[in-house]
Subunit: 170 residues, 2 copies
């Protein structure tokens, strides 16, 4: 299996699912007369990131995964979103970035040493260790936590919204 197939299409599909949840959350706020802030600032524990931050970090993880594995510069996003529309625009920007990737971009991946910002100078992860043991779990961590916060706040979402459309064959 090519590392492109492990990453770019699924990261994109998941961000498109997230985008749809935010549309539903925005409609929920309007329908139930709750403020957008009460959703965006919601969290499940006092020392947990709020919804808005979960979404920002999920977006960042998606761009980091593709960008780090291909050593390709990613767009900067300054974490200033305060509306669902702005968050959806950030998702759109990451989707656009992911859309620039092709299989060729990952040619060097086997030899790449992934250094994360918090690592000591001489520390690194092998590309596949980074992907399987850190990057994918961490991406889903923030995606699922965003979903869980929305569910906790009463937004009508279900497992099918999480999974999205599956590439079923027949």
């Amino acid at each position: 299996m090519h590392i492109y197939d492990l990453t770019v299409p699924q990261l994109s599909a998941t961000l498109r699912n997230l985008d749809r949840w935010l549309t539903l959350a925005s409609a929920h706020a309007q329908d139930h007369q709750v403020s957008v802030d009460s959703l965006l600032n919601a969290r499940l524990a006092p020392d947990q990131y709020m919804l808005v931050r979960q979404i920002q970090v999920a977006c960042d993880n998606a761009k980091y995964i593709a960008g780090r594995l291909a050593a390709k510069e990613w767009p900067s996003h300054p974490d200033t979103e305060s509306t669902f529309e702005q968050l959806r625009s950030r998702i759109g920007s990451v989707l656009e970035y992911l859309g620039t990737f092709a299989r060729d971009d990952f040619e060097e991946v086997e030899r790449r040493k992934i250094k994360l910002p918090w690592m000591k100078e001489d520390e690194w992860l092998a590309a596949y260790d980074y992907l399987v043991g850190f990057a994918l779990p961490n991406f889903y961590f923030h995606i699922v936590t965003a979903y869980a916060i929305l569910r906790h706040k009463g937004v009508k979402l279900g497992k099918n919204d999480f999974l999205g459309r599956l590439p079923i064959q027949s």
Copy 2:
């Protein structure tokens, strides 16, 4: 990357993390004089699976992923757990099952058609589509939701507990 490396070690590592959270949750219940049931029956939305069910399903997903991709029979678990110890024993049983896998077991994976119980008779997923687009997201869905419920109930967990030990090199 071999499909074994994409699945068995990381599923096992994640279940070992989950096992550790349950030890902490059990200690939390004792320290704070809260009943084990109030944790095991907790959920974040009225129509969401309770913690105990999230853990059962996460365990099932781990065995299904390896079992389906290798067409190897998995152990049955009848969903009767009502204590942290019983849940940890179920995790242990799945870890033991995952420990029986080797690279060779996945030799036929490219040709395998994965049929899920809810699919129509002629429907199937290609093995890698199943893994990347359904099985891994679904596994992490239940793992992260279990983590989120524990966090919501005040169990002291943090991101490092979620990620576990990373295979950092230097």
